[in-house]
Each structure stands twice: as C-alpha cells, then as structure tokens.
C-alpha cells in the first residue's frame, strides 16, 4: 500500500474545508461569549489573537525618595556613632610614660568611618562583634570577631599609606594584605561574609 504525500495545495484545501471550531468557553479572556463581537469569534486555532488580558500587573518602581534616604542616613549615622566612640578615641592619651605617643586625629577617625560605613549594611546578615580601638602611632584599629573568625584592620594615621589587614579562623585559614581606605575590598568582604 502506498501513502502518497499530498501536495501543500491539497493539504490547504482539505484544512479550509473543515468546520471551524469555536471554543465553547473563552478561557483566555473570561469575557462572556455573548459579549464578544462577531469579528473576534475566530477559530480556536488562533486563540492567541483573541487573548485579552484581564489581569493587570501594576509594576511599582523602587524609588528611594527623600524620606527613605534621610531615614537611611540617620540609621547609618546612629550605627557609626554607636560603634565609633568618637569622644574616647579622640581623647585617648595612651601610656603617660610613652614619650613618642601620637594621639588619634579627627582626620584619621573620619577616614576610618568612611572606610567602615559601606560594611555596615553588609554585616546586618553576619554576626560579628565589631570593635574600634586605638592602634599604634595615632592609627585606628577596626576588629571583626566572632566564634569562627577574627579580622584586624589598621587605618594608618598617614593618609598616603594603605590600610593593612590580617584575619584568620583561629586555625588553618588566614588572609592578609593591604586595602585602599576609600573603597570596599572584595577579598575582605568575601572573607567576612563566609562565616
């Protein structure tokens, strides 16, 4: 038995001769069939053409308006104030016997704050005790510590010097290097986040 393949013209003719089926239920639009104009009563083979969206999506763009920004700023200032004990740090006098003692300057403290502030939001998810203490020769030490890890970073008094850091997990893994004071360091960030 042979099954000849019909020509495309024959196929189209047969297809057109078939009774076009109207969907008994307009599942695409939820409109009542009686209310649908005749011109839209197209065969179900073309449902997408009759589709009418009845559900609207109200996309709301995220806007950082003045109030939210101001609120965030205030939160940031509050957090920095509570972590940086500015009065004590600037008033720190060291050991009276230390003849070469260098006090912490406001400029160094501001650089430490500037460095630290981007890390504030990040560490809302990872539990660390953060301590800001005087370092040697007018520098500022920032320390992150928890049961698994500890990282010490020193903001030098000399603004031309890089900050140095060292961290470890009290065991085998450690991280050490220098960072620019005016940017978030991906390695330090990754190390602290992986806790």
């Amino acid at each position: 038995m042979e099954f000849p393949i019909p020509a495309i013209e024959e196929f189209e003719r047969d297809f057109d001769a078939e009774e076009p089926a109207i969907s008994s239920e307009d599942r695409w639009s939820l409109h009542n069939l009686n209310t649908i104009p005749e011109r839209t009563k197209k065969p179900v083979v073309e449902p997408i053409l009759r589709w009418k969206s009845t559900t609207s999506y109200n996309y709301k763009s995220v806007i950082f308006n003045e109030i939210k920004t101001e609120r965030f700023k205030r939160l940031k200032i509050f957090a920095l104030k509570s972590i940086f004990n500015e009065e004590k740090l600037l008033g720190f006098k060291g050991d009276p016997d230390d003849n070469n003692f260098v006090p912490i300057s406001k400029e160094t403290l501001d650089r430490a704050k500037h460095f630290f502030s981007p890390y504030l939001a990040v560490f809302s998810t990872v539990a660390y005790a953060i301590k800001i203490m005087p370092g040697p020769d007018g520098s500022v030490d920032i320390k992150w510590k928890n049961a698994k890890k500890e990282l010490l970073l020193n903001i030098p008094a000399d603004k031309n010097e890089h900050a140095m850091f060292y961290g470890d997990d009290y065991g085998k893994l450690s991280i050490k290097g220098t960072v620019e004071v005016d940017s978030l360091h991906p390695l330090v960030l990754a190390w602290l986040m992986d806790s």
Binding site: K88, P96, M133, P136, M164
Partner: protein, 122 residues
C-alpha cells in the same frame, strides 16, 4: 653592666599596660603592643616580678597599671619577632621584643591572643 643572656622559650616576659588602654573594651587592645625606642619593652621573669614591672611606671601610679605575661616561645613563633635580653643599669630584667608591630596587624593580633593577665587593672 649586666651580662646579656639567652632567654629560654619556656620563660615569660612581663609587659606593663596603662589603664588608658582599657577604656574601650574588657579585651586587651592590640594597639597596646607597640615599640618604644626601637622595641617593645618587657621584663624577663627571671629578674623581675610582675609587681616590680608594675612599679616601673614613672609618670603614673602603679595602681593605674596592669601587667600581662607573654610566653617567650610563643612570641618567637610570631614572625618576624625577636626576643632579646637588653639589660639596663637599673633593670637587669629588661628585654626587648624587636620586629614591626605598627604596620603588621597579624603580629599585634597574635600578641594579644598570647597575652595573659597577671595583675589586672581594676
């Protein structure tokens, strides 16, 4: 002048700490470990007691100072620190811990972990 001696690893060094350093936290601050005149000044336990070290403060009363002890072997394990007996005319126990502490946070963090209170600041 006193002769310079080799300090065994199992011995301890006393390190005086003024109370000003303790106003930020209960923990010993890393910033306290610093050089004065080229090295970190300590006293060897062989020739000094913790109380004598406490009394060596000149510009502050002894009670304003605490004393920490550091194991010599532990200090030597922290690179690049060197422990050298450097006796002075009035202090045979005087010992310097040489090596950069200012720029290297690793050194200060490890010294802090090594330190133990002998006379705690009240």
């Amino acid at each position: 002048m006193w002769p310079v001696e080799q300090i065994p690893n199992e011995h301890f060094l006393f390190f005086r700490l003024h109370r000003n350093y303790m106003q930020f936290d209960d923990e010993i601050p890393q910033g306290a470990f610093r050089d004065q005149d080229g090295g970190m000044s300590t006293d060897w336990e062989k020739y000094s007691t913790a109380e004598e070290t406490q009394r060596r403060a000149i510009k502050s009363p002894p009670e304003e100072n605490g004393v920490l002890r550091l194991n010599v072997g532990g200090v030597r394990e922290i690179k690049p620190l060197l422990v050298e007996h450097t006796p002075e005319p009035g202090n045979r126990a005087h010992t310097n811990v040489f090596g950069d502490k200012k720029k290297d946070p690793e050194v200060r963090l490890k010294l802090q972990r090594l330190a133990e209170w002998v006379i705690k600041i009240q």
